[in-house]
C-alpha cells in the first residue's frame, strides 16, 4: 500500500522528471548559450562582411541566418547527451526503473528537448534577424539597391525565421533518435555531424553526376531542411522550403521510430 501514489507513472510526471533532469545538468545551459552565441555571432559576422553592390545578389534573410549552420552542432550535442549521457553513466537504468514504459520515457525526453530547443532557437533566430536588420543597411543593402530592412512582417522572412527555429527542433529530434539507437555518445555525434555536414559538401562538388547531386540536395537532412531559409529565386531551389523541412521531419521521425523500437526491444 503506497499512500503517495495510486496509479502508475504518467507522461506528465515523466515530463516533469525529464525537465528537472535537463535543467539540473550544467552542460545544458552551456550548450544553449553556445547555440545562441554561435548562431547570432556567425550570422552577424556573415552579414558584416558582405557588401552591396559587390554582392547585391545575396539573399539577405538567408545570409543573416547563416549562423544556424554552426549553432545546430550545439543542438546536436545537447540532444545526443540527453540520451547517451544516461547510457554512459548507467543512469538510464534508474530512468527506466522510474518510468518503465520506455516509449513514454523517450517521448518525455523528446518533448522537453523540443521545448527547450524551440525556446533557445527562437532567441537565436530573433537575435540573428535583429543583427541583420541593423548591420545590412550599413553595407549597402538599402532601398536604393532594392532591399528593405529585414522584418518579420515580411512573409518570406517570417517563414524563414520561424522555419529555422523548427529546423533546430527537428535537428534535436533527429539527434535524439540516433542517440537512442546507437547509445554511445561519441558514435552518435559523429554519425549525426557526418549526416549534417558531409552530405552538403558532397552534394556541391560540381563534378558528380547531376542526378546524384540533385538527390543529395533534395534528400540530405541539412540541404533540404535549410531550404526553409531561402527567400529569393525559390523556383530555382532543388526542393521547396516547406517540402524541404518535411524531408528533415521525415528523417527525424524515422530516427525516433528506430530509436524507440530498439529501446523497447533491447535490454537497458
Amino acid at each position: 500500500m503506497n499512500a503517495l501514489r495510486a496509479e502508475g507513472t504518467t507522461l506528465r510526471e515523466a515530463l516533469h522528471a525529464e525537465w528537472t533532469k535537463l535543467r539540473t545538468v550544467p552542460s545544458t545551459g552551456w550548450l544553449l548559450l553556445t547555440l545562441i552565441a554561435l548562431t547570432v555571432g556567425a550570422g552577424a559576422l556573415a552579414t558584416a562582411v558582405v557588401k552591396c553592390p559587390a554582392s547585391c545578389g545575396e539573399d539577405t534573410t538567408k545570409l543573416s541566418l547563416t549562423g544556424i549552420l554552426l549553432g545546430q552542432a550545439a543542438v546536436a550535442v545537447l540532444a545526443v547527451l540527453v540520451m547517451s549521457g544516461e547510457y554512459s553513466n548507467g543512469m538510464i537504468r534508474v530512468t527506466l526503473t522510474a518510468v518503465p514504459r520506455r516509449v513514454t520515457a523517450l517521448a518525455a525526453k523528446a518533448i522537453i528537448l523540443t521545448g527547450v530547443v524551440l525556446a533557445a532557437g527562437a532567441v537565436s533566430v530573433l537575435g540573428s534577424v535583429l543583427a541583420g536588420r541593423f548591420i545590412l543597411p550599413g553595407n549597402g543593402f538599402t532601398k536604393a539597391h532594392g532591399f528593405l530592412a529585414l522584418s518579420l512582417g515580411d512573409g518570406p522572412t517570417l517563414r524563414a525565421a520561424a522555419g529555422s527555429v523548427l529546423y533546430l527542433a527537428l535537428i534535436a529530434l533527429l539527434s535524439l533518435g540516433l542517440a537512442t539507437a546507437l547509445r554511445d555518445s561519441g558514435a552518435s555525434i559523429a554519425v549525426m555531424l557526418g549526416l549534417l555536414y558531409i552530405v552538403p559538401v558532397l552534394s556541391d562538388l560540381g563534378t558528380l553526376d547531376p542526378v546524384w547531386e540533385h538527390r543529395l540536395q533534395r534528400y540530405g537532412p541539412m540541404p533540404a531542411g535549410l531550404a526553409i531559409q531561402a527567400t529569393r529565386n525559390l523556383r530555382k531551389l532543388p526542393i521547396g522550403p516547406w517540402p524541404g523541412l518535411g524531408v528533415l521531419a521525415a528523417w527525424a521521425a524515422a530516427a525516433l521510430l528506430a530509436g524507440g523500437l530498439l529501446l523497447r526491444l533491447r535490454d537497458a
Binding site: 547563416t66 545526443v80 559523429a190 558531409i198 560540381g206 558528380l208 530555382k236
Partner: protein
C-alpha cells in the same frame, strides 16, 4: 608488535631508465587492446577508400567530352591557353626588343562604343617566342591593369616588376634581351634607369625566334545578374558561391587595347616589317570552356600603326589552362568520412579515460602529464596517418581509372599516378590531414573531457568552414579558409592553381586561398595550440 625489527621492503622491480619510450609503448598497448578502436581505425581507412571510389564512380565528365578545343600543350606537357594578338618580326640570334607602353584599356566588346570593365590580368607588352605555334616556349614582359609589370615565361612562371598601372602620364618601358637560351627582362619608368626583373632559361630555343608586341585580355566569369553598366562603365560581382549552385557563372569575353611607342628591335634582323595576327584560337568562334559553361565568342583583335605609335587590341590569355572543375580533388572529399572517424577516435582516446576515472590510474602511473599527452598524440597521430595513407593509396589509382572512364579528358585533367609528386602530395597530404585532425581532436578531448563536445568542436572547426566557404561571397570565404584548420584541405587539390591569373577558386573545386602545405601548416598551428592548452590545463587541473 615489532616495528623495531622490520626491514623496510625494497622493490624487486627496478626497470630501466629511459621512460618516454615506455609511455609510448603503454599508450600503444592501450590503443591496440580496445577492439572497437582497432575496428574504427580500419573503418577509417576503408571508408576513405570506399567513399572516394564511390564518388569517382558517380562523377560525370561526359558533359565535357571534346570540350577543350582551345587548349594547347605547353613546353612542360601541361594544358595551356595561348591566345593573344601578336605584332611580330623574326629575330635571328641574340638581340633585344624595347618598347614604351603608354596606355592600357580594357572593355566589354558588346556594343559600340564598348563600355569599360576592369580586367585585372589583361596584358600588354613584349614577347620573345620560339614560334607562332600555340603552346611554344616564350618569355614576356608585360604591363597589367591591376598587377603592375610582370615578367612571365613558359606559362607557369611569373615575377613581379614595377607596380602601378599604365597611363600617358606614367608610361612603362619594357625590354627583353636574348643571349643564347637565356632571356632577361627589364622595366623602367623613364627609359633611362632600367631594373632587371628576372631571367628565363628556355632550353632548346631555336636560332630564329619571333619577337614583338602582344595584347591580350582573359575571359571573365560573371555571376548571373550581377553585370551592371552605367555611363560607359560596367562592373560585375564576384563569382557566385551559392549552396545549391543553380546560378551559373557566365563567361564574358573582354578586349584590351594598348598603345606602344619607342619600339625598337635590335639584332640581326631578317624581316623588317611588323606583321600583326592572332595567335591561338581564331577569332569569332564560340566554344565550350568548362562543365556547363558556354564560352563567349572571342572578339576580333586589331593592329594600327601611325607614325611611331602602335595600337593593338586583343583577347585571350597566355597562361596555364585551369579548369573550373577539379574532378580528382573533389572526389577526394570522400575522405571526409574517414576524417570524421579519426576525429571521433582521437577524442575518445582520452575522453574514454575521463569517463570512468581511468585517467587517474594513468596519471598515477605517469605523473608527468604533458608527456602522457605527447605519447598519446604520437600514437594516435601515427595510427591515423597509417590508416589515411592506406586508404588514399588504395583509392587514388581506382578513382583515377573511374574518372577517365567517366569522361574526364586527360589532356586537361592530368593523370596523377602514385609516384608523381602531386599524386604523392595527395596521398601523403590526406594521411597528414587525418593524423593532425586526430591530434586536434585528442587535444579538444583533453580540454573538454567529453567526447560529444570535443568531436563537435573539431567538426565545426574543420568541416563546417568548407560549407561556409561555399555559402559566403569569395572575399570573406577566402578568409574563413585561410584562418580555420580547413585550410589544410588544399592538400587534396588535384589541379594546380596559379596566382597569376583570375580563376574561380572555391573549396568545392578543391581550390584554396593558401598553398597546399601552407594550409596544412595552419592546421598544424591549430593542433599545436590546442595541444599546448591541453597540457596547460592537464597540469593545472586535479585529475
Amino acid at each position: 608488535m615489532s616495528t623495531g625489527t622490520i626491514t623496510p621492503y625494497r622493490s624487486g622491480q627496478e626497470p630501466g631508465r629511459d621512460d618516454f619510450p615506455h609511455l609510448l609503448r603503454a599508450e600503444w598497448t592501450k590503443f591496440r587492446t580496445v577492439r572497437g578502436w582497432l575496428i574504427s581505425l580500419v573503418a577509417a581507412a576503408l571508408l576513405t577508400a570506399l567513399a572516394v571510389v564511390a564518388l569517382a564512380g558517380v562523377s560525370n565528365g561526359s558533359q565535357n567530352a571534346g570540350a577543350h578545343p582551345a587548349v594547347a600543350i605547353g613546353p612542360g606537357g601541361e594544358a595551356v591557353t595561348d591566345d593573344f594578338y601578336f605584332v611580330h618580326q623574326p629575330l635571328a640570334g641574340n638581340g633585344s626588343i624595347t618598347v614604351r607602353v603608354t596606355s592600357l584599356h580594357t572593355e566589354l566588346p558588346l556594343t559600340t562604343p564598348a563600355p569599360h570593365i576592369a580586367v585585372p590580368w589583361a596584358k600588354a607588352g613584349i614577347i620573345i617566342k620560339a614560334s607562332t605555334r600555340p603552346g611554344s616556349a616564350y618569355a614576356a614582359v608585360m604591363a597589367t591593369p591591376a598587377h603592375g609589370v610582370r615578367m612571365q615565361y613558359d606559362y607557369t612562371h611569373d615575377t613581379a616588376g614595377l607596380p602601378g598601372s599604365v597611363s600617358a602620364a606614367s608610361p612603362r618601358w619594357l625590354r627583353l634581351t636574348r643571349s643564347g637560351d637565356t632571356i632577361t627582362g627589364y622595366d623602367s619608368a623613364d627609359g633611362k634607369h632600367w631594373a632587371k626583373i628576372g631571367t628565363a632559361s628556355l632550353a632548346g630555343l631555336p636560332p630564329t625566334v619571333q619577337a614583338g608586341l602582344l595584347v591580350t585580355s582573359p575571359t571573365l566569369l560573371v555571376p548571373n545578374n550581377t553585370l551592371s553598366c552605367r555611363g560607359g562603365f560596367c562592373s560585375a560581382g564576384t563569382p557566385a558561391q551559392t549552396f545549391a549552385r543553380n546560378s551559373s557563372d557566365a563567361p564574358v569575353a573582354t578586349r584590351a587595347t594598348a598603345a606602344f611607342d619607342h619600339v625598337s628591335l635590335q639584332g640581326q634582323q631578317t624581316g623588317g616589317a611588323w606583321r600583326g595576327g592572332q595567335i591561338g584560337f581564331p577569332t569569332g568562334v564560340a566554344f565550350i570552356c568548362g562543365p556547363g559553361h558556354s564560352c563567349p565568342r572571342t572578339p576580333a583583335g586589331s593592329f594600327k600603326k601611325s607614325g611611331g605609335t602602335f595600337t593593338l587590341a586583343g583577347s585571350g590569355d597566355i597562361a596555364p589552362y585551369v579548369t573550373v572543375a577539379d574532378p580528382l580533388g573533389t572526389v577526394l572529399k570522400g575522405s571526409l568520412v574517414g576524417l570524421l572517424t579519426v576525429i571521433a577516435l582521437g577524442a575518445l582516446f582520452i575522453t574514454a579515460e575521463y569517463r570512468r576515472g581511468l585517467i587517474r590510474t594513468t596519471f598515477a602511473a605517469s605523473p608527468r602529464r604533458g608527456r602522457v599527452l605527447a605519447a598519446k598524440a604520437i600514437v594516435i597521430g601515427s595510427v591515423t596517418f597509417a590508416a589515411g595513407l592506406a586508404g588514399a593509396a588504395v583509392a587514388l589509382p581506382i578513382a583515377e581509372r573511374k574518372l577517365r572512364s567517366g569522361g574526364w579528358a586527360s589532356s586537361v585533367y592530368p593523370v596523377w599516378s602514385l609516384t608523381s609528386s602531386r599524386g604523392l602530395q595527395i596521398v601523403v597530404g590526406t594521411a597528414g590531414l587525418l593524423a593532425v585532425a586526430a591530434i586536434l581532436a585528442l587535444s579538444a578531448g583533453a580540454v573538454l573531457r567529453r567526447s560529444a563536445g570535443a568531436i563537435a568542436a573539431v567538426v565545426v572547426l574543420l568541416i563546417v568552414p568548407l560549407i561556409l566557404g561555399a555559402v559566403l561571397p569569395q572575399g570573406p570565404a577566402d578568409w574563413v579558409l585561410r584562418l580555420t584548420p580547413a585550410a589544410a584541405f588544399g592538400l587534396q587539390q588535384g589541379t594546380p592553381h596559379y596566382s597569376q591569373m583570375t580563376s574561380v577558386c572555391q573549396p568545392i573545386n578543391s581550390c584554396f586561398p593558401l598553398a597546399p602545405w601552407e594550409g596544412f601548416g595552419v592546421l598544424c598551428v591549430w593542433a599545436a595550440a590546442a595541444l599546448g592548452i591541453a597540457v596547460f590545463l592537464l597540469r593545472r587541473r586535479d585529475a
